[in-house]
């Protein structure tokens, strides 16, 4: 467990970056520090590996004050990922990843073998190891940064805005990758971001910090959205928090219904006579798009006769995705697929909303605050 005990940090110029803050992060979970720029997130995180010494108070790792360790040694036992990856430009990717094992006295060959394993772990091809950082994309550099932090298999991982310098699509990929890795590795992760969506997606618990290093709220993401502690947290979590909260509702009780479907390559004779939209599938029963009502099909049905579909809702995932699939579909019917992307059925926004209402009344009936 990581524990901050009334830590306070005042820099030489008088800036108080962290103000009497106490909190603890559970072993084996991802804890996110989130807050606006300059609120003291980095300062707080860097106290853990003694990159910054608190002015007062103490930081404990598994009950031991970090000041009892030699600083360099402590840092080798704590993975550290920084914003621009901070890779060493003069070393190959493989040697970058092998840095900490080599520092700890591992043999070069051994360290490189381990480094190669880690590249694979973070989803990078092995031949990337021979390249230099200048030859990688931003997203690849971030992955190498994560691999480097994991190389010595540290129980604790500090990540300071590791994904903020890449585009949103790559960022989402890296976030998913982190969650997958965490499932395998179960590290104690302290993750800094100023992006509330990232905090809610990754954090098992989220600490919202306010300017001057005050802890405004420390809660599970669902609770943060449901009951923000004050006006600051309310405005920080943003307007559509009700909608975003649906991320934490699973859709198992949603019952997809059947709708008319045809396949790519079918002829006009196969297309049902219809008043509504028809869903078009490919040979593997994966949705390809929609055929508008009354659209004429001459000859075989091809892709370019279709209207693009909305987002797909994977069975059993959150209600947010289910609602979005219905709202984004041209037909108003959200397409539900199984894990392999195969068509299961469709849902309407009305069905999703009914489920939400049902849930609310059942919770209220039990006497629990909504």
């Amino acid at each position: 467990m990581l524990e901050f005990r009334s830590v306070r940090k005042q820099y030489e110029n008088g800036t108080v970056a962290v103000q009497e803050l106490s909190m603890s992060a559970e072993t084996g979970t991802i804890t996110v520090l989130v807050g606006p720029s300059g609120c003291g997130k980095t300062t707080l995180m860097r106290m853990v590996n003694r990159m910054i010494e608190p002015s007062s108070g103490a930081v404990l790792v598994d009950g031991t004050d970090v000041r009892e360790f030699d600083a360099a040694r402590l840092r080798r036992g704590i993975g550290y990922v920084i914003q621009q990856a901070g890779l060493f430009p003069h070393r190959t990717v493989l040697d970058n990843v092998a840095t900490v094992p080599l520092l700890s006295g591992c043999r070069r060959r051994e360290a490189r073998t381990r480094a190669a394993e880690l590249l694979d772990r973070v989803g990078l091809p092995a031949d990337l190891g021979r390249r230099y950082p200048a030859q990688l994309s931003g997203g690849q550099q971030q992955r190498v940064g994560v691999a480097r932090a994991l190389a010595a298999d540290p129980p604790v991982l500090l990540m300071d805005e590791p994904f903020s310098a890449v585009d949103p699509v790559v960022r989402a990929g890296l976030q998913d990758e982190l969650l997958r890795l965490q499932e395998e590795l179960g590290k104690t992760v302290l993750f800094v971001t100023h992006d509330i969506d990232e905090a809610i997606k990754l954090g098992e618990k989220v600490a919202v910090l306010r300017q001057g290093g005050h802890l405004a709220q420390y809660a599970e993401p669902d609770a943060l959205l449901a009951e923000p502690a004050d006006d600051f947290v309310t405005s920080f979590v943003g307007r559509d928090r009700g909608y975003r909260r649906l991320s934490f509702r699973d859709s198992r009780r949603l019952r997809p219904e059947a709708t008319d479907t045809v396949h790519i390559g079918d002829t006009s004779a196969d297309v049902p006579s219809r008043a509504g939209w028809v869903l078009v599938l490919d040979a593997h029963r994966r949705p390809r798009g929609w055929l508008p009502p009354e659209a004429a099909v001459d000859g075989q049905l091809t892709e370019d006769q279709l209207v693009a579909g909305g987002s797909l809702h994977v069975e059993g995932t959150s209600l947010r995705g289910a609602l979005d699939s219905a709202l984004s579909a041209p037909s108003g019917l959200g397409v539900v697929v199984d894990g392999d992307g195969g068509y299961v059925g469709v849902v309407t926004a009305r069905q999703v909303l009914d489920l939400i209402e049902e849930h609310r009344s059942s919770v209220t009936a039990e006497g629990v605050a909504p």
């Binding site: 590996n49 840092r75 080798r76 550290y80 920084i82 060493f88 430009p89 230099y132």
Partner: protein, 227 residues
């Protein structure tokens, strides 16, 4: 004039023996390598220390600027008055001449290492000395070697002063030409000094390619392409 120069160059007498062009060129080169090598032994560790700790930077900049302003000939004369004639005062003068450029290159090299990389090195658990050896020095190499190259060019040009204190080198040929009013001989000596400077600089450029880590060259290239 050109004809005189050609006549001088094609006279086999000038290419033979201890006073000939090949021998004097070698001697010249020897003075340069020894003095720049000595200057590196002093300036590189000092520059690394200053760059790494950030301590004493202003004092060193002031002193090395003052050193640059010293007239080498005057300095050598003074050293001769102190130490008497011989290799030492001439070489010492050249060493003092070479130090500022190498020191400045080394300091600038260490300063140029991006702070996030040094911070990452610290965060990985590198000790201060490991950071210096494994991160700052390799990343400082391009500018460090740049400093050595410019020091070397200065020294090759200035090593002629060794002749003033009765030593050899291409300066000997130059000064002897001056003494007897043989201007074609002075022109030939100047020509060889220039050629030697170019040749030595090419060799250093080659060494630079060998020792600067490939990743840095690639990064510099990527920067050029990007901007």
């Amino acid at each position: 004039m050109i004809a005189d120069l050609l006549a001088w160059l094609t006279n086999p007498e000038h290419w033979r023996g201890a006073g000939g062009v090949p021998a004097q060129t070698l001697l010249h080169l020897y003075y340069c390598v020894v003095s720049v090598g000595t200057a590196m032994l002093i300036a590189v560790p000092l520059g690394l220390y200053i760059g790494h700790t950030g301590r004493g930077a202003t004092a060193v900049v002031a002193v090395s600027n003052a050193m640059r302003a010293l007239p080498t000939l005057g300095l050598v004369t003074m050293l001769v008055l102190i130490f008497g004639l011989g290799d030492t005062p001439a070489l010492a003068g050249l060493v003092i001449l070479a130090i500022p450029a190498i020191l400045a290159g080394t300091c600038a090299g260490v300063d140029s290492v991006p702070s996030d990389i040094v911070d990452a090195a610290r965060g990985m658990g590198m000790t201060s000395i490991q950071r210096l050896w494994r991160v700052e020095l390799p990343n400082a190499l391009p500018l460090l070697i740049g400093g050595v190259r410019s020091a070397m060019l200065q020294v090759v040009a200035t090593a002629t002063v060794a002749a003033y204190v009765n030593l050899g080198g291409l300066g000997r040929i130059l000064l002897d030409g001056l003494a007897v009013g043989h201007y074609e001989q002075m022109a030939a000596a100047a020509l060889f000094i220039a050629l030697l400077a170019v040749a030595v600089d090419l060799v250093l450029a080659g060494i630079s390619r060998l020792v600067v880590p490939r990743g840095l060259a690639l990064a510099a290239e990527a920067n050029r392409d990007g901007s």
